[in-house]
């Protein structure tokens, strides 16, 4: 029985003609002696032949293939794929070069730069006045400029008053025989014109800084100069004398003095 088991392992090899000569002889002699093994061998042989039936199926399938055309088709596909693989490998190499890990910090830096640049551009374009204010690098309190302008207006007014005072003084002190010609002289008419022009210049400042008292006097002086420069030609010496007295009586020069003092003390 043990002998049979040993030989059975070689049955398949024998039927497949894979057993060497020596073993084949030994097995054949055993099969001659053992009817059980002989029956087993016969059944196995039948099975092996049955397995051949699948060959018919394979042969049928093979008949449906065009063996002439297939190599051409395969060759064509293989060479086509080779061309596309070459193209792909060129692109692949380029992409590998561009996306290699060691370039990652460079790309990260570039990206960060672009982001920061965009942000900075956005902020600069959004608030240009901020940039200007920063670029002068001078910062002054908001009321400083206002007080500067007020001081300038005061000085301008003082200058106007002083020059008016001198001119009026010249007019009052002029000899009575020459007083009629005073306003016709080049010197006086020029001064009067200058003062009228200056008055026009300081008018908005007087309004803006509410120097009401100064404005009233300045307006009176302006009107006076205007009238004198316009109508003095037609006036007689007596009438001129009257105007001179009127100026003295009204104490215009004194009022101007007082106003000058007040302006000097910034009390207007």
């Amino acid at each position: 029985m043990t002998e049979c088991k040993k030989f059975k392992k070689d049955f398949v090899a024998l039927l497949s003609q894979e057993l060497d000569e020596e073993k084949t002889k030994l097995l054949q002699s055993h099969l001659d002696r053992c009817p059980d093994c002989k029956r087993e061998m016969a059944q196995l042989e039948k099975f092996m032949k049955g397995a051949e039936s699948l060959k018919m199926d394979i042969e049928q399938a093979m008949e449906t293939v065009d063996w002439e055309e297939l190599p051409r088709k395969i060759t064509e596909n293989v060479f086509k794929q080779e061309v596309s693989a070459l193209k792909e490998s060129w692109l692949g190499r380029l992409s590998r070069f561009l996306f290699q890990p060691r370039l990652r910090p460079v790309y990260a830096g570039l990206l960060l730069g672009v982001l920061l640049g965009s942000l900075a551009t956005y902020l600069i374009l959004r608030a240009p006045q901020l940039k200007e204010a920063r670029s002068t690098k001078i910062s002054v309190p908001s009321n400083f400029l206002e007080s500067m302008e007020l001081e300038m207006a005061r000085r301008e007014t003082l200058d106007y008053l002083e020059r008016s005072q001198y001119l009026l003084l010249d007019f009052i002190q002029s000899p009575s025989e020459k007083s009629a010609e005073f306003w016709q002289s080049e010197f006086a008419s020029q001064k009067a014109r200058d003062l009228l022009a200056k008055k026009k210049y300081i008018n908005p400042q007087l309004d803006k800084y509410q120097m009401a008292k100064a404005k009233i006097i300045c307006d009176q002086i302006e009107l006076l100069f205007y009238e004198l420069s316009q109508i003095s030609v037609k006036l007689s010496a007596g009438e001129i004398k009257k105007i001179q007295k009127f100026i003295e009586e009204k104490q215009i020069l004194m009022k101007i003095d007082l106003l000058k003092k007040e302006l000097g003390k910034s009390e207007v």
């Binding site: 392992k9 049955f11 398949v12 090899a13 497949s16 894979e18 059944q43 196995l44 039948k46 099975f47 092996m48 032949k49 049955g50 397995a51 051949e52 039936s53 699948l54 060959k55 018919m56 199926d57 394979i58 399938a61 093979m62 449906t64 293939v65 063996w67 002439e68 297939l70 190599p71 051409r72 395969i74 060759t75 596909n77 293989v78 060479f79 794929q81 080779e82």
Partner: protein, 193 residues
């Protein structure tokens, strides 16, 4: 007409050397020479014409890509069938889930076996169907050895080379494959097997 046998002066090694130099004609000749052998292996494995043709196409593509690895002393047919075998295993793993494998056109129980009426069950008209279904149930290595031995008619030595296993292992696995096949077909062909 494409050559199916290399000329006397032009053996397979010369052709392979030309293929290595990207010679289109040589490649086509090699394909014509070995296409049937690859198809036979793949068809026996899958029992499906289209799958077998896919394997043939893929095998020759792989041959073209890896031909530089082939050394002169090697047996070219075994080397090529080794590629085909690996592709069959990969293809099977990828495309044949269990459900697909057993999704046969006709259930084995419904096949025309006519066990009681026929004296010889091997005369049954559905015998090849039974065998093809039972071959699929074998373990991969046993199936490959069974197919290579019975349909590709390769020797144990060649199968050992293709599968990269020992000769004794091939012999023992072939024996096991035959025993398992007998056990699988027995219920359908009668207990006398």
């Amino acid at each position: 007409m494409i050559k199916e046998r290399p000329d006397e002066n032009e053996d397979i090694h010369t052709l392979i050397e030309r293929v290595k130099k990207r010679d289109r004609e040589a490649f086509m000749t090699v394909t014509a020479l070995y296409q049937k052998k690859v198809f036979l292996l793949a068809f026996s494995f899958f029992h499906n014409r289209e799958d077998a043709l896919d394997i043939v196409q893929e095998t020759f593509l792989r041959l073209y890509q890896k031909v530089h690895l082939f050394r002169k002393g090697q047996n070219f047919q075994n080397w090529l069938l080794q590629i085909a075998k690996n592709l069959c295993i990969d293809y099977h793993r990828k495309n044949y889930s269990k459900s697909k494998e057993y999704n046969r056109e006709k259930p084995i129980e419904e096949m025309n076996l006519a066990l009681s009426d026929e004296k010889d069950p091997y005369l049954s008209s559905d015998l090849k169907g039974i065998f093809s279904e039972c071959v699929k149930k074998l373990a991969t290595k046993q199936r490959l050895i069974f197919v290579m031995k019975h349909y590709n008619q390769l020797e144990y030595q060649e199968i050992a080379q293709i599968l990269g296993i020992a000769l004794g292992t091939v012999k023992s696995l072939h024996f096991k494959a035959v025993q398992n096949m007998r056990g699988l077909v027995a219920p359908y062909l009668g207990r006398q097997l």
